[in-house]
Amino acid sequence: MSITGPGTKLSGREFDVATVRADFPILSRKINDHPLVYLDNAATTQKPRQVIDAISNYYEQTNSNVHRGVHTLSIEATDAYEVARAKVAKFINAPRPETVIWTRNTSESLNLVAATWADKNVGEGDNIVITAMEHHSNIVPWQQLAARKHAELRYLAAGKDGLLDMANIESTIDSRTKIVSATHISNVLGTVNPVAELANRAHEVGAVILIDAAQSVPHMAVDVQAIDADFLCFSAHKMLGPTGIGVLYGKYDLLDEMPPFMFGGDMILEVTYEDAKWNELPYKFEAGTPNIADAIATGVAVDYLTDLEMDNVWEHEQQLTAYALDRLTALNGITIFGPEDPALRGGVISFVHDKIHPHDLGTALDQQGIAIRTGHHCAMPLIRSYDVVAAARASFYVYNTKTEIDALVSGINDTERYFVR
């Protein structure tokens, strides 16, 4: 049985990858005379025609600033912007649309919580708990906050098996813990973390839990209420949507009590020369003209994924991952990080070759049109804990196929023949 993530059930319906692929214009591109094999989805995903068209249509038909305009375009733009918010809310089962805040990306969402909720609630002697497998964006804001507040930053360790060491959860998350911030799926190891359990422990000690869902919301059905997440964030560009737009979900009461993050137009109810009053949620957190076009296009990306059904998306990636793990494991000289059991992980596979540096591998594969990511994947401490300084990473999405994984494997073989005598 495969793990399908919180709140999902297998629908059984297979979606047709060929039909999906036809929606992605970039997949017809040739790279160095080869068809593009795009395996860099954990960095950002490609966009279907529907999402691209949503942006053009907006600018061709509706473009206007939102909120408070009395003219037709402004009313239409505001409606479309809010409809997109409601779609996202439904997608993650948020109880109310206004608990969905538009940000630029996951990084901004994380910084927002650190600079507002945590800045207000974390004090000297308190601690903040994150995991050893966080993205830099979920490490550095907390290092800074801890330093500023004289609080302690604690890491929940991960074993060499790529799994969080849950045995230590009670001693790590204790009565002085104010916030636990953890990635749902590691962008390096692929590990699916038991976030509901972490949430549970956090709530036991009166802490809040923030879930970095940058690598989960795009790939599985995520239900913020089922997890009991206090905050959860993700980026549209990693889920078929445009760059420049992300989401912070938060429980209404928490968001309502938080100080604002940035100040300016739209987040303000009333200003005098002396003072200002904040607008209601979600606007309190949306200063200045928002990224209207990309928010609307994010709604369309959500429609696209909803239409595919997230259980199918997950199942498709599970199959690709299992297949890729099989084939890569069979190669000589390859070390794969993360859980061995494909059922415990998402579609992200990081690996090293004992004779080829990841960058040389990346350059060589690119000559064959195969795009993988190489480097530290914005998770330097984790990468170093595996005693390497860089790794290659292949990551999958709805349009990838087993044939593409075959291309990756044969590309690695060719590269090995090239570099290794």
Partner: protein, 156 residues
């Protein structure tokens, strides 16, 4: 057999980047022995790539009498470090610094003089990196580090 003589097949322009001489230095780096009581001993690294090298030199009478470079990195940064180590051994510090400057200009795509090309010799093979601009940093890493260290040493 060496990769590029066997033909890189579907690997396209890879031979432009990894010329035979580069693969040779990558596989068999020169001057990797540590230097006894070095006058210059520094670490250079590029955290983005994870490349890191230790550069040790003895400088006597304004000449590099011993050099050792070890570390890890991609084929380009490793070959480049090895070629550098080979080049500087026995050279006057002024000559070393001039060569670094020629090398920089090579990677920037500038024309080198006959004389400069003679000095660089095999190293010109690294000029293929120009076609892969994001790899230029890899080629430069040890060179820039060594040059800075030498400059600092001379200023003492």
């Amino acid at each position: 057999m060496m990769g590029n003589t066997s033909g890189s097949g579907s690997l396209g322009e890879l031979d432009d980047l990894y010329e035979a001489i580069i693969l040779d230095h990558y596989r068999n780096p020169r001057n990797t022995d540590p230097v006894d009581s070095p006058d210059i001993d520094l670490e250079v690294n590029n955290p983005f790539c994870g490349d890191e090298f230790q550069i040790q030199m003895k400088v006597e009478n304004d000449a590099v009498t011993a050099v050792g470079i070890t570390g890890r990195g991609c084929a380009i940064s490793q070959a480049s470090a090895s070629l550098l180590a080979e080049l500087v051994e026995g050279k006057k510090s002024g000559e070393v610094r001039a060569s670094v400057s020629s090398f920089r200009r090579l990677l920037q795509g500038e024309e080198l003089s006959e004389e400069e090309r003679d000095v660089l010799g095999d190293i010109e093979a690294l000029g293929g990196v120009r076609k892969f601009p994001i790899r230029i940093k890899c080629a430069l890493l040890s060179w820039v580090g060594l040059d800075d260290a030498l400059k600092e040493h001379l200023a003492k």
